[in-house]
């Protein structure tokens, strides 16, 4: 079977939708963070695949993906720190119980 760009893109789209679905529906805040990692990885996959299928393949796509991974790591650190801080203060980890943005 000949793997084409379309295959990669469809897979990435599926991953992306999965991630978004998880981010919206998961109760646990850590679960939401994990779902967001799926979204990042879908993007990374798109970037690497696009780089591979350029007329003259080069490493730009991979390079871009590396930067995204670094940014994602930083985002995870921040997100986990926030969740931890909320947990210490209020003893909750469920996102639907967090309503600090109102009132």
């Amino acid at each position: 079977m000949n793997v084409t760009l379309t295959h990669y893109l469809v897979l990435a789209a599926l991953l992306f939708c999965l991630g978004v679905y998880g981010a919206i529906t998961r109760k646990n805040a850590i679960g939401i963070l994990m779902a967001l990692e799926l979204v990042f990885n879908a993007v990374n996959l798109t970037l690497v695949a696009a780089g591979r299928f350029r007329p003259q393949p080069d490493a730009v796509g991979q390079l871009f993906a590396l930067f995204v991974i670094a940014a994602a790591a930083a985002e995870s650190v921040l997100g986990l720190a926030i969740i931890l801080a909320i947990y210490r203060r209020r003893l909750i980890v469920n996102a639907d119980e967090m309503d600090l943005m109102k009132n």
Partner: protein, 632 residues
Amino acid sequence: MADPVVLALAVPLCPLAAFGLTWLLARGRPAAGAALSLSAIALSFLLAVVLLWGQVHAPGTIQADIPWMPLGRLVIRMGILLDPLSALMMVIVTGVSLLVQVYSLGYMRGDPGFARFFSYLSLFSFSMLALVLADNFILLYMAWELVGLCSYLLIGFWYEKPEAARAAKKAFVVTRVGDLGFLVGILVLSLMAGTFDFAAVARFIGAGSVPQGQVTLVVLLLFCGAVGKSGQFPLHVWLPDAMEGPTPVSALIHSATMVAAGVFMVARLYGIFQASADALRVVAGLGAFTAVFAAAIALAQDDIKRILAYSTISQLGYMMLALGVGGYGAGLFHLTTHAAFKTLLFLGAGCVIHAVGTNDIRQMGGLGRRMPVTAVTFAVAVLAIAGIFPLSGFWSKDEILEAVRAGGHPVLYVIALGTVFLTAVYMSRLYFRVFAGTLRKDASPHESPAVMTVPLLILALFAAGLGILGSPWVGRGIHGLLDPSAPRPVLDIGILVLSNGLAAAGILLSLVLFGRGRASEAAQGRRPGPLYSLLAHKFYIDELYLLLIRALFFSLTAAVAWFDRHVVDGTVNLVGGASKNGGELLRRTLAGKVQGYALIITCGVLAALALLFAASLGLLGPWLLGPGGAGR
């Protein structure tokens, strides 16, 4: 000798400087304010006399102007016009103003607004002088409104008094009615002619390229302004009420100068007015009607200043009549003599009011022996206005009568003669009521101080002697100055006998009816007849206006107010309420939960993607992403 243009400019600018300096330096310092104002007007008077002297020796028209405001093809120029007419008017304005200001030193002594009073008088003098010097419609109109403003400020000088504030407002609003027509006339005329310059507009109209009907209409529009300012029927209602102002103001503004501005305007634009015989007929007819109408009302008034106010209206009607029948010089001559004797009458009335503390002539009587100077000067003025030979009023009034007769207007001639009779009756009634008979028991009047009586004496001199300018014994006198083509005046014995006979008859009638001075208690309690009631209520003109305003204007404004409250405000409230309620509704959809927001963001992105997709298929037409933007 200095350049006449510079001198002419200095005449109005002196009082203006006094006005500015008074507000800057002399606020709350009465003596300083009065000194500034008086010295400025004295200087102006001297300059005006010099200028008039120059015009007497070498009559000529000097015009000096600068481009002021270029509006495309139309360039508005600003400048002054120095000719015999403006020189004469300047002397009248500054002379009366000077005497009235001296008189005010005594009359207004101790008033808390002393400095303010003099600063307003200075501002008025400036405005009036600018008015008479104007060489174009723009400056004329600006000065015209400025004198209106000063009139408003000075009528309402004692603004704590509700009547004064009301009278000031009334004067402003009523004259505004006439000024609207004036403004429209100016704009139409100037736009047709393409210039605002008097001489150029007159040349344009004289060229005859405008249809006669249009000329008549425009001239009548201009005349509206004169009707308002000079208190001609039907806009005369403000002038009697204006007597709420201090008496020197009535003397200066509401008898001698500002109200004569309407007459001056007609004279200044005489070249334009002459282009329409119909318009001149209207001027003459309205003037004659106003003269007899106001004289009749004056018969039945009991307020000393109101009688004089109606007399002013009547005399202004005379001047209009003269101008309307072609008596240009006669009208202006009467303006000049009227300025002298009417100012004298008002200043004399001021002395009387000062002495007895009331305006009501029923409360006066017997003042003649206690106030000899006032009584004698007042008598001179009464005889002058009645037109008794050889006082000034006789000469000017006779010229008007002659002009009317020469103009071939038998009806107007009869009206004018009737007015001579009425004038004699009401003026001598006033005199007898105030000065003759016995003194009221509780009254102790006293003669005014010299600062007030000296102006009276000077004015009495002029009221008696000014007529010499129009008599046959001084060459062509004032007419040679104003109108070089005028014939040498001749003394018409027929008119002399007729008018003096009528005036004497009027005075005799008055003597019989009112010679005992103050009316007896019995006479005061008598029920007035219907004719007297009609006159005492001034033909119910004020009531008619009120009725009309209530019926028409207020119902119209009520409808407008309803529209504003329910439709305009309703729309505004609808928009506000909709945003507020909509926001409230949207606020409830957001629970403050992260995932709710994430869902909305996702939906938004999906919607945007769907839109882009649709656009790329060309479903939305080219305008969404620009030409070809979607296809790439």
